[in-house]
Symmetry: C2
Subunit: 122 residues, 2 copies
């Protein structure tokens, strides 16, 4: 028995950090108004990406009326390329540029250092 335990956390938690190197794809966007199928497609993409070899997980947050940030983690560039080339993902991106996004920025980055913190509940 430990004096410490981790309290159950409901809802999403940050993707666990891994031993570098690995890759992060940072997608930061400002949405247009209205849904126009966005929610459904976002959910579908979130499922599809799990099938990409080397996919390590993704975190997502959208501030109401503000920026959305999604960070997807991959073991290597091959996984990122496979996801980029995925036909259904390509179609969703093209539709997104037409309908969902006012602006976005995409950064593909090689993670060189990482660490995590988890509160101890005593």
């Amino acid at each position: 028995m430990s004096d410490h335990h981790v309290a159950p956390v409901s809802g999403p938690v940050p993707v666990a950090v891994r031993q570098p190197p690995y890759y992060a794809v940072v997608f930061t966007s400002l949405r247009t108004e209205g849904d126009e199928g966005y929610g459904e497609t976002a959910e579908r993409m979130g499922e599809l990406v799990k099938g990409i070899p080397g996919f390590l997980g993704e975190d997502s947050a959208r501030e109401p009326g503000g920026l959305g940030i999604t960070v997807a983690y991959f073991r290597d560039l091959a996984g990122i390329e496979a996801w980029r080339a995925h036909a259904e993902h390509r179609a969703a991106k093209a539709y997104g540029r037409e309908h969902w996004y006012e602006r976005y920025s995409l950064h593909i980055a090689r993670v060189e250092h990482s660490h995590g913190f988890e509160r101890a509940h005593g």
Copy 2:
């Protein structure tokens, strides 16, 4: 006169992409309940970091009741190190581990590719 113009966007917009290489610091967190001075300190840190040489900007989003993601961009690792070593920032981080964060993950990554999109309003 152009046939296209960019509609004014109110509120934050994504940090403009730069020519790689540069660095991204991805901080993903789950907050404890209550503010406990978080808002005020977060604002202060957002001002302080602007004084770090090589700081390129940061984007932030927090989903109500969910994850928060902040991505800060720096020209080089020296800037990240200067920010990490900043006394007031160090104190805020220590306080944050005691009071504000249930969990967090930090990833320091070298951006190798980036691109941006901005909707044309015709």
